[in-house]
């Protein structure tokens, strides 16, 4: 009897929980699933009323077209992402090391500056930057975009690395330096190898940031030849003429899926590193 009562009670408590959870989950997955199912059908089935969740004919033709359309921008995105990530590491690691291991006047303000950059409206900065880029000949160039992206990723990467470095035991470095290692040697041989999780987190977030960026690319370039896949997608779905008048819905939607896949793959394979990076930061509080 008491068992049955307990069961009923759990049931009464559980049902609303699961019901709400399912409703919220539907709201979360429906847009994604609708995007997916819209891409695996012939165009004719895209424009039907009522909308069909399961297409009558299954085809991947949209993806084939999307790969052709977005080939160049996709390569651009990947290239910018990798170069930016590498540059970010080269620039941010020494800065973070400097902030955690060395003493000099103005250190607190430096951290403050990095923090401040996270609160600025970039749309304001891009205005003069556009003028500067025109003058320096960086406008609409790959180099210009990479410089912009790197400036975008460096501040928070420094902050992230800094909180990780400051949690590493200092004794190992002291030992190494007593044994004749220089400071930079200690950074290279001791600190960096111990920091793999947070380094992966920095690389990953830099790549994703570049991959998703729209703002910098729109302001600092004009030709699809040098632009990222995110911006190419945006241009195709807003400005029909950008795609030579052949902007087809199913191609754009398939392009949207193609754009999402690498991010999912990165997240899935590197999940433990991201988690490690985050908890490492969180534990230092």
């Amino acid at each position: 009897m008491s068992n049955a009562q307990r069961f009923l009670r759990t049931l009464r408590e559980q049902i609303p929980v699961y019901a709400t959870l399912i409703a919220l989950t539907l709201f979360i997955v429906v847009p994604f699933l609708w995007l997916l199912t819209s891409t695996v059908r012939p165009v004719a089935e895209l424009y039907v009323y009522p909308p069909r969740w399961i297409p009558q004919t299954f085809t991947l033709v949209a993806y084939q077209k999307a790969f052709q359309t977005f080939a160049r921008p996709l390569v651009n995105s990947a290239g910018y992402g990798l170069v930016t990530a590498l540059l970010t590491l080269i620039v941010a690691c020494p800065a973070a090391y400097s902030l955690t291991r060395l003493n000099y006047p103005g250190k607190r303000s430096v951290t403050g500056v990095f923090l401040l950059t996270q609160m600025l409206p970039f749309v304001l900065l891009l205005l003069p930057l556009y003028i500067i880029y025109l003058k320096l000949g960086l406008y609409n160039t790959r180099l210009g975009l990479i410089i912009g992206f790197t400036a975008l990723t460096v501040p928070y990467s420094v902050l992230l690395l800094r909180s990780f470095f400051s949690g590493l035991p200092i004794e190992l470095e002291e030992q190494a330096m007593i044994d004749g290692c220089t400071r930079l040697g200690a950074l290279w041989r001791i600190v960096l190898p111990l920091s793999t999780p947070v380094l992966v987190a920095v690389v990953l977030s830099s790549i994703v940031l570049v991959w998703n960026d729209v703002l910098f690319t729109i302001f600092l370039s004009k030709d699809l030849e040098v632009q990222t896949a995110s911006v190419a997608l945006y241009r195709f779905f807003t400005v029909r003429s950008a795609s030579g008048g052949v902007a087809q819905k199913e191609v754009m939607l398939a392009g949207g899926v193609i754009l999402t896949l690498p991010v999912i793959v990165l997240f899935t394979f590197l999940q433990k590193y991201i988690a490690a990076g985050i908890t490492a930061g969180a534990l230092k509080g």
């Binding site: 409206p121 304001l124 729209v214």
Partner: protein
């Protein structure tokens, strides 16, 4: 999330001094600055100098239509022109709707979801992966997807709302004044709740189990438990998320630009897209910079509040 962590951490550590002490003071100082130099070159070129130049631009009359050399000091003329703008109230109203909606809706959704998920669940792995979907979608894909869902003729939402009898004929969710903001904010909620969710869930899991058990033994109903135990315990995280949300949504350009381009007309134009419009469509760089300055000053006020909160946390 990573960004959120980094910012929070840095603020918390602002006060701490370096741990190493060295006898070679001057070398240490020089090395310290030298290691910072590369990062400051990037930040100086892309953020620092443009910041100074923005201040200057906002005080100059500079219309590209009058020629590229037409830049001339004019004091506060751009700010005056902004104050006299006949559509100023529309922009400010849009900005208020956007900032409040895009901050609180995702946090609210995340809170409800986190409260539901903070328990033994069947198929935990499934629920967790689902929650991350909007986070992994690039914003260009997100905007495209929602535009397709909101499509006037073939959109999914029109179909379902008609089935439910809420609307009798198809509406243009992104063109009809009544539906415009709810539609924009629905997308904002969908794409921005995940990082709030992760932060809130982590805070929930840090609440000692004994507290809840004690509450339950004392006869607390689940709702009372949430109100008296759970919410007060996660209040610090919630207020941080709110302030950061306010700052980031205030400055956000991309979401609205990709979904509606500020339209129809100016009906969804907030201040960040307005900076772009005024500068690159009307070629009035001075006024564009002035609007940006207003935006920046408000952000900095919120930024200062944020830093105060982090400091108060420390004590």
């Amino acid at each position: 999330m990573i960004k959120l962590q980094a910012v929070t951490q840095a603020a918390e550590h602002l006060k701490k001094r370096g741990i190493f002490s060295s006898r070679l003071k001057r070398d240490e100082i020089l090395l310290g600055y030298a290691l910072l130099l590369p990062s400051f070159l990037f930040i100086g070129l892309v953020i620092g100098y443009p910041l100074v130049r923005s201040v200057q631009l906002s005080l100059n009359r500079f219309k590209l239509t009058a020629g590229v050399d037409s830049e001339q000091f004019c004091g506060l003329c751009n700010f005056q022109s902004l104050l006299r703008d006949p559509f100023l109230d529309v922009y400010l109203r849009n900005q208020a709707i956007w900032v409040l909606g895009a901050t609180f809706l995702p946090i609210l959704f995340a809170l409800v979801l986190a409260l539901l998920m903070d328990r033994e669940l069947r198929g935990r792995w499934f629920w967790r992966s689902v929650v991350l979907i909007p986070w992994m979608m690039p914003i260009a894909t997100t905007a495209l997807t929602w535009r397709w869902i909101y499509d006037r003729q073939w959109g999914l939402l029109n179909y379902y709302l008609r089935q439910l009898g809420i609307i009798s004929e198809n509406v243009g969710f992104l063109t009809d004044k009544l539906w415009l903001w709810p539609s924009i904010l629905l997308m904002a909620m969908w794409m921005w709740f995940p990082y709030n969710y992760v932060a809130i869930l982590a805070a929930l899991q840090a609440i000692p189990k004994e507290m809840r058990e004690a509450a339950r033994v004392d006869g607390c109903t689940p709702l009372k438990e949430i109100w008296y135990i759970t919410l007060p315990s996660i209040r610090p995280v919630l207020s941080l998320l709110i302030v950061l949300g306010l700052i980031w949504s205030m400055n956000d350009f991309t979401a609205i630009f990709l979904l509606t381009e500020g339209g129809p007309g100016i009906d969804s134009t907030t201040l960040a897209p307005l900076v772009y419009k005024v500068s690159f469509r009307y070629y009035d760089l001075g006024k564009g910079a002035a609007i940006g300055m207003v935006l920046m000053l408000i952000s900095l006020i919120f930024g200062a509040i944020y830093l105060q909160m982090v400091k108060a946390e420390e004590k």
